[in-house]
Amino acid sequence: MAGLLRICTAGSVDDGKSTLIGRMLHDSQSVYEDQIHSVQAASKNLAAGPIDFSLFTDGLKAEREQGITIDVAYRYFATARRKVILADTPGHEQYTRNMATGASTADLAILLVDAREGVKVQSRRHARIARLLGITDFVLAVNKMDLVDFDREVFDGIRDEFDEMLTGARCHAIPLSALHGDNVITLSDRTPWFEGPSLLEYLETVDVSRDLTKLPLRFPVQLVLRPNDAFRGYSGQLASGTVRVGDRVTAWPSGRSARVQRIVTYDGDLDMAFAPMSVTLTLDDEIDISRGDLLATDPPDVGQHFEAEVVWMDERPLDPARVYLLKHTTRTVTAEVNHALLLNQIGTVSVSTSRPLVFDPYASNRITGGFILIDTSTHFTAGAGMIAHAVRDGVAPGTTPVTAAERLALLARRAGSDADAIKAVEQALEEILL
């Protein structure tokens, strides 16, 4: 099978998203018969037809009772050609955070609109979040075409409006009736003007692989494995790129280099590993590397100040006076953010961290460019951030620290660890005193 396709779906309440997904699962035979029976037994929404397909996906009791999808649900189906992981994300505005969650791992987003309603504020918001999270492949599913008599002009109007909104992205628009199955699996007789392919055929064949292996090596170290004195290995999952035995890699933020000696796996050593493999590397030189460091070929950005787009996901607003935990790759640090955001707000902010991060802009690497902010008292995952670019040492361009105290503080901030910071400051003080 040709790998994994990760997709997410977005649409407003009542656009029929759950019905569409239920239909895909049902028609691609990924729903089992006893699930159909239990759904038929629970189905009270007679308007939805003989089987209420949305009940396949609206999993939680509260949702079944309220009739809206309130949390992201993951669904799986496999065709002869590939396996699909589908994040069904809710359209209800107060749950925008779930849309960001679903989009964060998706290769492609299905945007659903009601043919009668056209493009709504919500649709624009969903498209924007998907773009922000780095999605460049879209399917525009114009649903409920049966209620506009499969009118081509209605479809074309909506498609054109989206094309404008999604400039720079690739978008395949499909006229659908999720309820009746038109153009979901096979092409419908009722849209002779539509050339296809159908939704499922498109998902089966679309080539969205953002090629992680063509990017420079990024290997965040998860664990240092030391089962005995003779073995010291660095375990992690390649975020991007490839690595070969003999390659010279640099550990960041220290900047020290060594050659890859072995690529160790349970199934035997490899000559080469590529993203997204999980492996263990050994190096020919004993340099100090710990969890949170990153092994790379081309140099990444290293710093404590950057600008980022942040999606706020907590009821409790982002407070510039508070300190948050920031998790980025395998490193967790404390961080401050320069301005407030409310639940479901998205904003450009400046972030300062207590220790340096090793990163890339999100636009070039989702794994080394994305981070989460954790509330230190509730431990809730309160924000999701996408790094735009580094800001050098938090100092406005053209100015340099002048006082000795400022220079010492800068040395400490640049250090890779607390121990390094102490060492650097001690050294500087000695120089001053001598």
């Binding site: 099978m1 040709a2 790998g3 994994l4 089992y32 018969e33 699930q35 239990s38 396949f56 996906t57 999993g59 939680l60 009791k61 509260a62 309130i70 949390d71 649900a73 993951y74 669904r75 799986y76 496999a78 590939r82 396996k83 955070r97 779930n98 969650t101 964060s104 791992t105 692989s209 292996t213 998860q222 664990l223 494995l225 089962p227 290995g233 375990s235 999952q237 490839t242 160790v264 349970y266 199934d267 080469m272 997204p276 493999m277 999980s278 969890r291 996901m313 935990l325 998790k327 980025h328 794994i367 994305g370 981070f371 989460i372 954790i374 509730t378 431990h379 809730f380 995952t381 999701a384």
Partner: protein, 303 residues
Amino acid sequence: MTTTPRLDHLRALEAESIHILREVVAEFERPVMLYSIGKDSSVMLRLAQKAFHPGPIPFPLLHVDTTYKFKEMIQFRDQMAASVGARLIVHTNEEAISDGTQPFKVGTQRCCGLLKTKSLLDGLQAGNFDAALGGARRDEERSRAKERVFSLRDANGQWDPKRQRPELWNLLNGRLGPGESIRIFPLSNWTEIDVWQYIHVEEIPIVPLYYAKEREVIVRGNSLIVQEQPFVVTMPGEKPQMVRCRMRSLGCSPCTGAIRSDADTVPKIIEELISTRQSERQLRIIDHDQDGSMELKKREGYF
């Protein structure tokens, strides 16, 4: 130039699961793997071996033993723990057993509550574990589809679906407040077919009950019940008979029915799965005792 290397879907799932297992070991003080002896547990064990190779599996295995598991399961459990060199902890609610708790006496809901849910929570507390790894998959049941990889439990071990933390990219938030604990599901994105395909390509040992053979069973409606416990009695008109059958999922012998099958190899099992359209949990009587019953059990602390 060579062509772009690409992982097939099983290797992509494997790499993701190994990443999760390593995050757990890096971020928690006292993790434990819940070992249920079934096929998903077998896959979890192999992934744990892979994640920490050439080191040993760095956490113990906890089996919550209701004492009503199939005998072949217990034999297999002890063999596997020895062969992978992991420490095995077996926890049983002895008090409930000595009170005579069994499904036909107290009902399946109460029996599961005492022998599985309570026993699990007690076992986790006894070991002072702060993170419990489980083999649950999102494709198993509707409420599981919304489960997080890192699933938070309050001080009573309970799940609140409305307080779930968003999970973005591969960034897992394992921060805990006082008394809170976490359940971790590295197989979240695997389906039943993925698990079987992986068992096949990796040649992972599984309990022989999964393979079809002639077994002595009681035929009761659509269920084939293996008579291992003395309290599983034949009803009037029933008598044990030999049927070629296998277990599609493993649990307690009184509550887990076999299915008629000729599938005596892993490829035949996969073929059977693709052609049948019966969901695996249908034969687990406990999921059907009320609408939304898995969600209710999960809220109470069940996996």
